[in-house]
Amino acid sequence: MRFKLVYLIILSLLITTQQNYAQGFENAPDKSQTFKFSDPNRRNQVSFESKAPLEDIFGTSNDITGKVELNLTNLKSIKGEFEISVSSLKTGIDLRDQHIRDENWLDAKKYPTIKLIIKQIKKVDKIEQNKYKIVANVDFSVKGVVKNFDITAEMTYMPESDITKTRFPGDLLVIRSEFNIKLSDYGVKNNIIGQKVAEEILIKANLVGSNKI
């Protein structure tokens, strides 16, 4: 009787541990892989939104490069980095795009890219089959200033199929994320911040990478 109880406790502990550490895509190959996010057709996109009292600004960039190294069966192993070129930021007004690139704003000449480096994965939660929500600790750099904070992201694994081949050869990794940054944190100071440009900017990323590009 006592042996059975001990056996049950050990078994339940093992199951719990398995559930806690089964933090990766099922049926994915158990090996380290690199997914690259440099889409020659520029379908990967990062958008930004500023909502200020006088004006709402929406912009995008499709010039994104990056790679993620991970073992798909263990999402805590993720390491990666992404870069967005500042000169590719587009808001629908050419003059405003020029201003964004100016020294007063993001200074594209001196700091041509905005960079995000994944330092550590803090939390992994399964949403559904082949879809996980992660909390990642990242270094985000704008205008040469690096800030460290946590972001949440959704990751979807799509094994190679006839549908995925229309985008890229190989398995696909889809990453979606939304987070806010404060312009003053990165040394972007201007009189119109708070009136025509919001101090807090919402950034959204929609990225598709492949392990065969």
Binding site: R43, S47, K90, G92, T156, I163, T164, N206
Partner: protein, 92 residues
Amino acid sequence: MKLSRLRLLLSSIPILIAFFLLIIWGFNGFELFSKNSIAVEQIDPITNQPYYEWKDKFVFGLIDFVLPIILASIIIFLTIYYILKRRFKNEI
């Protein structure tokens, strides 16, 4: 009598222009500044995620397009009105 009719006609033209421009501005989305292109939401067929494509389209802005035209038209018509008024007085 002739002048008051002319005055009515002249003063209604800037009002009509302003009204017409404000309607166009409303149809263009009440934008504050003019735009050269607009972001159109699309859905990625593979990921089912939204993304935006830029389409070339001129959108009238209030501050840099609609208001200056309205002000200019009012100034032009007021100038014409005073010139005509002076000529009318001289003729009498």
